[in-house]
Symmetry: C2
Subunit: 369 residues, 2 copies
């Protein structure tokens, strides 16, 4: 399986070659992991023009599962000193390669490290790699999608079990901790992100840290969680009503958000513009009179990071490809009352193959619990 | 209480004034929080030479407790656009102040943002602020120490409760999750860092992510956890033996690490060099024949970050002051067998006041559980 990493580095190398004899220094952890199989703390990856790739780490890799499984075919240089900067060591080596320039991730590398690189390799021209690795990561291979599928299954299981338990009287915090425990029980490396539980006036928010508020009869209860499985992260969000009969305003709001989310899902096709998908969902919410209560984007890519390219937002440029996994997560929050958020992770597939593959299969029907 | 933040910003302003008419742009989240009371995601703080300080945030502050409580006397500029860079907006405003230069945190600011700043304020000279705010944060005031005291108490309580429960047969993961739940139950904002539980061959490691290994009779069991209380984080680490009678090698190793940790604690005095404290602990481990199995440092500062200046390490420069809180956490790990780590958080106090104030008071006697 080490071939997949060598192949990815090869593609990056080809891209750099098109820009001249360039080596590349990868410092963003998710990008290091994508290309090397693992990203130990403070590790950086040098991709050389002639295939002389090296992972520089500070201290020995601990072999901890959440760093990933290192590509066995990749050379590793271990720096012993506690003050060592792996980027500087990489720059030093880059200076000795055939490369005329070194492409760095200017959106990640600090000014201080950039200066240190310049001083350790003054003959090397430093250029910007830009988001080259992030772009490579957009389209997932079937193994990556398999990990996302398992991560989604784990999240579905954890959520399903919670719904069978008593919810009234429990705090948002405890429900979140319970969900995270179940994620781990079902095989996740850990939660994909801090689990979000909001009840009553806290429901329907896109970002809400679980508080000590207790679930009450008549509340909307919003839950958003995700599993990290072998580094791959997906998410699911659902909103429920507590008690036997939802109020009319709750049914109306739920139907609106459900329709918006369905419109977003149905817009997911190869060739669809990111902003079109956002517009599909947003315009449904607008037509229901809730345009202003809505988040900045309808969804985002997932993979080694829970929030990666593409952004499904009004200002986003670009179009979907098959095998790009994204979330579709519109919602409406009415301050003081609460609201609804419905969030799925799906993989874009050709229409001929049945359209988008839904990974998070927990029912989206409004459940009264 | 908003005075404390204004005072801190004033001290930073004075420091910048000594270097000429300089404004300062603070981007590191813990530093923003220290000076502004809160650090919403992506927020940056502009400290102007004439007191015109502004916090730039992207999207409204959510009021989430873990961001902190914003200084009410501080002006806030909210950027609406999803693609907005608060640093660029700050640079734009800095260009309109009396300042001739803008000091930035080069060890945090990315090359890309630095370029964006240069292009939005071409007349402003960008200089390096260095670790000025980190240095200000070294010595804690009594309110900060009070938060650390409470954080330590919470961690002690969580650990104490766990020790009263059955441990044999439970996995490292479950024990860690249990500890984190108890931290929150006892009033923590959350864990200070991912709780570390290692049993048997996993014991005594300085970094170990809890696995599915189950606690067995005869194991060493190492636990390291901490609470985050109002942003202030401290840590405690203890090692226990499971079962009724420790083996001779376990008693011997425990006594050695205990002696090393005590030597480290006793070296904590105002004026003591960081490297002296490290040496005090390290030389005890050396004399016991375990010098090479030891981590790169004996301890580190704590505060708004769990790992901050000073580093108690062989290469560290500098001396302790009163009211600097640090950890003392030597340990020995024998691959395949396990080991011992003992970790306290203490506040340096003058000898006349009784020496260092121990915050983490769980017994360090070797307990058989």
């Amino acid at each position: 399986m080490s071939d997949v990493y060598a192949t990815r580095r090869g593609l990056l190398r080809d891209r750099c070659a098109a820009a001249g004899n360039t080596a590349a220094l990868i410092t963003r952890p998710a990008n290091v992991r994508y290309l090397a199989g693992a990203s130990p703390p403070s590790a950086v990856l040098l991709v050389g023009p002639d295939g002389e790739d090296v992972l520089f780490t500070v201290g020995p890799p601990t072999g901890e599962a959440d760093e990933g499984r290192l590509d066995e075919g990749l050379r590793v240089s271990v720096l012993a000193g506690p003050g060592s900067d792996a980027a500087v060591a990489a720059g030093d080596m880059a200076g000795s390669l055939r490369a005329e320039s070194l492409a760095v991730e200017e959106h990640h590398l600090t000014v201080a490290r950039h200066r240190a690189l310049r001083s350790v390799a003054p003959g090397l021209r430093l250029v910007d790699l830009g988001a080259a690795v992030e772009q490579q990561r957009l389209v997932k291979d079937e193994e990556e999608i398999a990990c996302l599928r398992i991560a989604a299954e784990i999240a579905d299981q954890a959520l399903g079990e919670l719904l069978e338990s008593i919810l009234v009287g429990r705090t948002e915090r405890h429900l979140a901790l319970e969900l995270e425990r179940r994620l781990v029980d079902h095989g996740a490396d850990g939660p994909a992100f801090p689990t979000c539980v909001g009840t009553g006036p806290n429901s329907g928010l896109s970002r809400h840290r679980p508080s000590d508020r207790r679930v009450e009869e008549g509340d909307f209860l919003s839950v958003c969680l995700g599993a990290n499985y072998r580094g791959y992260r997906c998410e699911i969000g659902r909103t429920f009503v507590i008690g036997t009969s939802p109020a009319d305003w709750q049914i109306e709001l739920y139907d609106l958000v459900f329709a918006a989310q369905r419109a977003g899902r149905e817009a997911l096709l190869p060739g669809a513009a990111y902003r079109e998908v956002d517009h599909a969902a947003r315009s449904v919410l607008d037509s229901g009179g809730h345009g202003e209560a809505v988040a900045a984007s309808t969804g985002h890519g997932v993979g080694l990071e829970i929030d990666e390219d593409p952004q499904l937002a009004p200002t986003a440029m670009g179009k979907l490809d098959a095998c790009v996994p994204v979330t579709v997560e519109p919602g409406v929050h009415l301050p003081g009352r609460g609201g609804v958020r419905i969030d799925d992770t799906l993989v874009v597939r050709p229409e001929a193959d049945g359209g988008p593959e839904l990974l998070t299969i927990t029912t989206k029907e409004l459940l009264a619990l």
